[in-house]
């Protein structure tokens, strides 16, 4: 087998399989072998679906042999955060409590979309318990280690997803993002991440956290892959009350149109405070590459973050209240204590936070009337050490767990689409990420900007050497 399926993008694998340069079975076996050899170094994969992968790969090869159209992702191996339903597998959501549940009776909706596109599911991935965390450390299954430096966290809560892609185990993975859980690990692991507009992708079959903010999202090592995979996942699903009945809006056809004519601005004020100089420098490098000279201020972003925090704490607590009452000892203590406190938030506070959300959304829409894409840091710093609880940022001590999401929370609060792009600095092993933020439903714009940066070699997602 001369095809380098280890470093190949999802798009390259799909082309090679369709052209019969390599079989889907060979690709699947290579992915399963990568899990066996590389996962022990990073602890990203929590369940391997080997039999299913082999069946699917064989079916893809048989379809190609019959002259049938194999699908845009035919033969491409992938894995999913273990809060996505996989038929026949218990949906853990990173929790010991969920291990007692019955296996899922069907795949999550977006997983079924990827099946239809010919992709080959190889496993489930590690995450923070019940998605309540930004670090990628799981109390029961252990932390996932950053493939670029295993002493450091991956970020979370989709830590296993980002790490599996960064380590070359799979070319793409699914995650979820409520307050930053795709964007933070994408930034800290040096891969591309996409959090689409709230209501774009169905959440049917995802174990929930905060219904007001939960999004399905994805990780890949190229912008072409993000666009191709995202396009395959799009479909209205009436079973998800948050899913909006919009027509599919493909992003691949316009991906390489570049940034000419796009109005791009740097987020100032709140988004320039509380970060390492390097994190702000990453935004400045992107801005310089795009010749951006304009700034904007999202008003009251600090209050937006507070409101997002309160809604998340209250909704998460409401979801888990019965479990808190009956199985408190089976939680990660740090999750349990945050949920307990969240259960005590007065209802009037949550309603006020939702009213503020409407106000903040209107202010953002006004800004996007003459801006197409906004640049902001993804995290305030590079990945902290595993187990680190406090960090020194901008001259003050700050808690790691809460601070990693300070720039992502105000954005997912109003459901805007974001592509996180990875940057590297000579002499530094760990990357930084920048958020490319678009107006609602304009994933095409953020992906165009990401692709232009990738083509100019400003951003890249190399496989970690491990």
């Amino acid at each position: 087998m001369s095809f380098d399926s280890f470093r190949a993008s999802a798009s390259a694998v799909a082309r090679a399989v369709a052209a019969r340069e390599i079989t889907a079975v060979e690709v699947a076996e290579a992915a399963l072998a990568a899990i066996a050899t590389r996962n022990r170094k990073i602890n990203a994969v929590t369940v391997v679906t080997a039999a299913r992968a082999r069946r699917k790969a064989a079916a893809v090869d048989a379809a190609i042999a019959r002259g049938e159209q194999p699908g845009p992702l035919a033969g491409v191996p992938y894995a999913v955060k273990n809060l996505f339903d996989i038929e026949g597998i218990v949906t853990r959501a990173g929790a010991r409590i969920n291990a007692d549940n019955q296996p899922a009776q069907a795949d999550a909706f977006v997983v079924s979309r990827l099946e239809s596109a010919g992709a080959v599911l190889v496993g489930g991935l590690n995450m923070n318990e019940f998605a309540y965390g930004f670090t990628g450390e799981n109390f029961h299954d252990g932390a996932t280690l950053n493939p670029h430096d295993p002493r450091h966290i991956t970020g979370g809560s989709s830590g296993g997803s980002a790490a599996a892609v960064a380590a070359g185990i799979v070319p793409f993975a699914l995650g979820s993002d409520t307050n930053g859980s795709v964007r933070v690990p994408a930034a800290l692991c040096g891969v591309f991440g996409l959090k689409p507009t709230y209501g774009r992708l169905s959440r049917r079959g995802l174990f929930p956290f905060v219904a007001s903010f939960d999004h399905a999202g994805l990780f890949a090592r190229s912008t072409e892959d993000l666009a191709r995979i995202y396009d395959a996942m799009q479909s209205y699903d009436a079973e998800d009350p948050a899913c909006v009945p919009r027509q599919t809006e493909p992003t691949l056809p316009t991906l390489s149109e570049g940034t000419r004519g796009l109005r791009i601005a740097v987020a100032g004020d709140y988004f320039r405070r509380g970060a390492d100089p390097a994190a702000l420098g990453a935004v400045d490098r992107i801005a310089a590459a795009l010749a951006v000279q304009r700034g904007i201020n999202l008003p009251q972003a600090e209050i937006a973050r507070a409101a997002a925090y309160l809604i998340s704490a209250a909704e998460g607590a409401a979801l888990h209240l019965q479990r808190l009452q009956t199985r408190a000892a089976d939680f990660d203590p740090s999750v349990r204590d945050r949920l307990a406190a969240g259960a005590m938030i007065p209802a009037s506070v949550v309603v006020r936070a939702q009213r503020f959300r409407a106000w903040f959304q209107a202010r953002a829409r006004a800004i996007f009337a003459d801006v197409d894409v906004i640049l902001a840091p993804a995290t305030p710093c590079r990945a902290p050490l595993i187990g680190q609880t406090m960090m020194r940022i901008d001259g003050r001590e700050a808690p790691v767990r809460a601070e990693l999401g300070i720039y992502t929370q105000p954005i997912s609060f109003i459901g805007l689409p974001v592509c996180t792009v990875p940057l590297w600095t000579t002499g530094e092993r760990l990357p930084l990420g920048v958020q490319l933020i678009g107006p609602a439903w304009r994933e095409d714009l953020v992906l165009r900007v990401a692709q232009a940066l990738e083509a100019a070699e400003i951003v890249a997602a190399p496989v970690a050497p491990l």
Binding site: E302, Q325, S334, F356, A358
Partner: protein, 66 residues
């Protein structure tokens, strides 16, 4: 939460004790301090939220549409 409230320990304790009973939650004594710390953080966020006036015509966004 009153603006600029100093979050006296007694206030947080009362909040904690009342809701733990009301919600039928039981935590070990060792967890009390952590939950109280979270409540203190929550109280600060509530103060931030309260600091910005909202017109009566602004409705909440329960099922959000971006």
């Amino acid at each position: 939460m009153a603006q600029n409230a100093t979050y006296e320990d007694a206030t947080l304790d009362a909040w904690y004790d009342a809701l733990m009973n009301l919600l039928d939650l039981a935590t070990a004594a060792s967890d009390r301090a952590t939950v109280l710390a979270n409540l203190r953080f929550i109280a600060h966020q509530i103060d931030l939220l309260d600091s910005w006036p909202l017109d009566n015509t602004i409705e909440p966004a329960p099922i959000f549409r971006a």
